[in-house]
């Protein structure tokens, strides 16, 4: 019998019907659905023992303690450490993202060397170490030819780095310009204080916050938020725009950042009139005389555009409070005039708040383990901008940047001074703006991948010391260990064998076992230094406050708004930012510029208008939003955008406000500042 076409069709149909009586179609459907759950790009749930380890996160602008929750050996989530004095259980959005950020596409995983065409190629760590060693060796014969900028002013690694470059003949070791430095200069140099300023917010019942965003980006802001919530401390705010601090304040007075010190002195002036007994501190009589002449509250109120009743109300509140504290700072870290900080400290002295409960504490300086290192206080005195503006910068042949990003956050004038340095080396966990400007990039381990320590960050209440152990295995060497190794090869003995050696020595100095510190214990000490030579006033201060920098030029006053939720200079925007940054804070590729209705009317601007904002340093484009929380004659712009970081969270979002900053120098104090800057605004 021949097999015909119809037979074949019958056979196939029979087979199809028969397969319905077998497991084949049902099993295949089930198996294909399971197969589709296991595609290689679908993330897997980590399985294993859940372990909690203590760490210190340093991704943002302030370090603080956290717990890292690991499943198996993989860090999965972060939880707060209630016993840590720098966080009190709090976490900021950047910290919450820190497990995810370890896998950021912008992580630097390999050392990179820039070729003649400006392109990076991967090289081995050993080769990078060799190049670094050659550069350091070459500097031995030339004094001050190495410049080192450290982005972490709390770690013991500064001792190792500064010791090596100091023994190689260079004292050019700097921290990135910050309010901490301004506080130190004001307190130590100008007021003859001792130690570093600590802020006993825990015991304060009233805070006068001048200029800075105390609850969002000043000092130990995670701790600040927790303390505000816990103690319900009363806050009075003075500044150029309504921020997260002012909205919870008992009273907000909106004035220009350049006038804050006048407001503070007007308060002192008023208090001298209503106080019977003045603190017998050096210079008090000259001070009160000066205030009566130059800072009469009525005249100040008229000049700076606030009401006398605001000055009186805050002055009376300060007088009545049991433990008031005055905190001043820049709208964005390091940018403001030192005069505001100086005036705040003077007000604290006037109110007799030094080394008092809830006041300013004189925190002792960190111990120096390596004798050849540059002491922390000396580094604080070193002014990077001063160097860049001086002729000494031309002698610098090699610059090393450690976990810092001056090419993003500092004014263009400073960046221009740094970019001309012949060879630049960057230690960074992320491929950020500074890394891209450098000739050699050496990866720095992520904070979970290395041992690190932290001594008394700026804004702390008492001296404190924490240690974060290595939690995740990584083959990226600790830069501090690299330096020790290079030192040995160059015949320089720093006196320690490794970074863990210095951490162990420090823990012994504080009388705590290193293992206890690694498990999350924090050493604290309430001891204060006694500022025997403290003064409230002298001729130098009179000179400083007799001059007036508030030369109001044409244009609008730029207020850079710095808040923690836009990430940090080092990291940029991060995964969880999607949840916390509002739609009206991002203008696509434009920045958002906030102006109040009066300014909008004067400049014929409307909501969503596109404008060009220009200074002599640069220009950016922005979309206008009307916001009555900004002073008249000013434009406020969020910092933290306009990043040159190659990941989806940062690319093509906003523009960099730092491009607008104009660097200025206070001739009397010698201190540099760039906020406020005057800008021209025109419609596109």
């Amino acid at each position: 019998m021949a097999f015909h076409r119809r037979d074949f069709i019958k056979f196939v149909v029979g087979g199809a019907v028969g397969s319905l009586f077998t497991p084949i179609p049902w099993k295949l459907a089930d198996d294909i659905s399971i197969w589709s759950q296991n595609w290689p790009w679908i993330p897997r749930i980590p399985k294993g023992e859940i372990i909690k380890k203590s760490s210190v996160v340093k991704l943002g602008n302030t370090p603080y303690g956290i717990f890292v929750n690991l499943v198996g050996k993989r860090p999965c989530t972060i939880s707060g450490n209630e016993k840590h004095p720098l966080s009190l259980g709090g976490i900021d959005p950047l910290g919450a993202s820190s497990c995810a950020l370890m896998y950021s596409p912008s992580r630097v995983k390999n050392a990179k060397l820039k070729d003649k065409n400006g392109k990076f190629r991967d090289i081995s760590i050993d080769r990078a170490k060799e190049i670094l060693m050659l550069k350091l060796k070459a500097s031995q014969s030339k004094k001050d030819s190495i410049l080192f900028v450290s982005g972490d002013d709390t770690s013991s690694c500064n001792e190792i780095f500064s010791a090596l470059i100091s023994l190689l003949g260079s004292k050019l070791y700097f921290y990135e310009p910050s309010d901490r430095q301004k506080y130190f200069k004001a307190w130590y140099d100008l007021l003859n204080g001792s130690g570093e300023t600590g802020f006993d917010i825990e015991n304060s019942d009233l805070l006068l916050v001048a200029g800075c965003n105390f609850l969002d980006n000043w000092g130990t802001y995670v701790r600040n938020q927790k303390l505000f919530g816990k103690n319900n401390v009363k806050i009075y705010f003075v500044g150029p725009y309504k921020n997260n601090t002012s909205v919870v304040s008992k009273k907000s007075v909106l004035i220009s950042e350049r006038d804050i010190y006048k407001f503070l002195f007007a308060i002192v002036s008023y208090l001298t009139r209503i106080s019977n007994n003045l603190s017998p501190i050096y210079g008090i009589e000259d001070f009160t005389e000066f205030l009566a002449y130059k800072y009469n509250p009525l005249l100040v109120a008229k000049e700076i555009g606030c009401s006398v009743s605001d000055i009186k109300e805050i002055a009376i509140a300060l007088k009545k409070a049991k433990s008031p504290l005055v905190i001043a700072g820049s709208t964005t870290n390091g940018s403001g005039d030192i005069k505001n900080i100086l005036a705040a400290l003077i007000l604290n002295i006037f109110l007799d708040r030094i080394n008092k409960k809830g006041g300013i504490r004189c925190i002792p300086n960190p111990p120096q383990i390596i004798s050849s290192s540059i002491p922390h206080t000396e580094i604080l005195k070193n002014d990077l901008i001063d160097l860049i503006k001086s002729k000494k910068i031309s002698k610098v042949k090699t610059a090393i940047f450690y976990e810092t990003n001056p090419f993003y956050s500092l004014p263009k004038e400073i960046r221009a001074g740094l970019v001309n340095i012949p060879f630049k080396i960057c230690f960074s966990p992320f491929m950020n703006e500074t890394a891209k400007q450098c000739d050699l990039i050496i990866p720095s381990p992520y904070f979970l991948e290395k041992l690190d320590d932290c001594f008394t960050p700026f804004g702390s209440g008492v001296a404190n010391y924490s240690v974060a152990d290595k939690i995740v295995d990584s083959n990226i060497p600790n830069p501090a260990d690299l330096f020790i190794d290079i030192g040995k090869k160059l015949g320089i003995n720093l006196g320690i064998s490794s970074f863990s050696d210095i951490v162990k020595t420090k823990s012994e100095y504080f009388g705590v076992s290193i293992n206890k510190l690694k498990q999350g214990y924090v050493w604290t000490d309430n001891t204060n230094e006694i500022p025997y030579g403290l003064k409230i006033w002298d001729k130098t201060l009179e000179d400083i406050f007799s001059s007036d920098n508030s030369n109001k030029k044409n244009g609008l006053e730029l207020i850079p708004i710095s808040i923690s939720k836009v990430g940090s200079d080092l990291v940029g925007l991060y995964p969880f930012a999607l949840d916390v940054i509002y739609e009206d804070e991002i203008g696509g590729k434009y920045s958002i510029a906030y102006i109040n209705p009066t300014t909008a009317q004067n400049y014929h601007l409307n909501e969503n208008d596109l404008v060009k904002i220009k200074t002599e340093s640069g220009e950016i484009r922005a979309k206008i939003k009307i916001n009555s929380g900004v002073i008249s004659g000013a434009v406020a712009i969020l910092t933290g955008f306009g990043r040159d970081i190659d990941d989806v969270f940062n690319k093509d979002i906003g523009e960099n406000v730092s491009d607008l900053f104009s660097l200025k120098r206070d001739e009397k104090t010698g201190s540099f500042y760039w906020s406020p800057t005057n800008v021209n605004v025109s419609k596109i």
């Binding site: 149909v13 087979g15 397969s19 497991p23 197969w35 296991n38």
Partner: protein
């Protein structure tokens, strides 16, 4: 003219039967591939030394189940080869000395969308769901589904549901799918 002989339904039944044979005999054998474990492990020898299952398979302090012991647990005794057995030598050379976790093939691995809590089932003996390997010197053969990548012995949902129903435990979705 010769009339073509009609074959009738014969091809249909032939196709039907062929499908049945393929579906019930051939398909189950080709869908799974037999794979070897990294090396042989004698449960019997270890039970004689250590006691019962919980010496290596235990609940942690937080209530989670450790499952297959980690390299660290095994290396606590086997940091060097102590018995001279070839499989033990292989374990020490290839895994202990190189600090590599052993890539055991798991007979009862569940997908990520299934939440199984051993501690919720602790009143049942291990061999209720797992083969009684405690008396065996060899590991059971491992068959892997070529499409899904799961073991042939991975419990399916209907098996869990049946036992839940028998024991008056809830079969609501959220019990197993969080």
């Amino acid at each position: 003219m010769n009339k073509k002989k009609k074959s009738g339904l014969t091809p249909f039944f032939f196709g039907f039967l062929t499908a049945l044979v393929i579906g019930w005999w051939i398909f189950p054998n080709i869908i799974f591939s037999k794979q070897e474990q990294p090396f042989n492990f004698s449960h019997k020898a270890h039970v004689e030394q250590l006691g019962d299952c919980s010496a290596c398979h235990y609940f942690r302090d937080d209530g989670s189940y450790n499952g297959v012991p980690s390299l660290e647990s095994c290396a606590a005794c086997h940091s060097e080869a102590i018995t001279g057995a070839p499989d033990e030598k292989l374990f020490v050379e290839k895994y202990v000395k190189k600090n590599r976790e052993v890539p055991w093939k798991i007979y009862q691995k569940q997908p990520d969308n299934v939440y199984f809590s051993h501690i919720a089932h602790k009143k049942y003996a291990c061999k209720t769901c797992h083969p009684d390997v405690g008396n065996s010197d060899t590991l059971p053969p491992y068959f892997e589904n070529k499409i899904t990548g799961y073991s042939k012995y991975t419990m399916k949902m209907y098996q869990c549901e049946r036992c839940h129903a028998k024991n008056n435990a809830s079969n609501a979705c959220y019990i197993c799918h969080k």
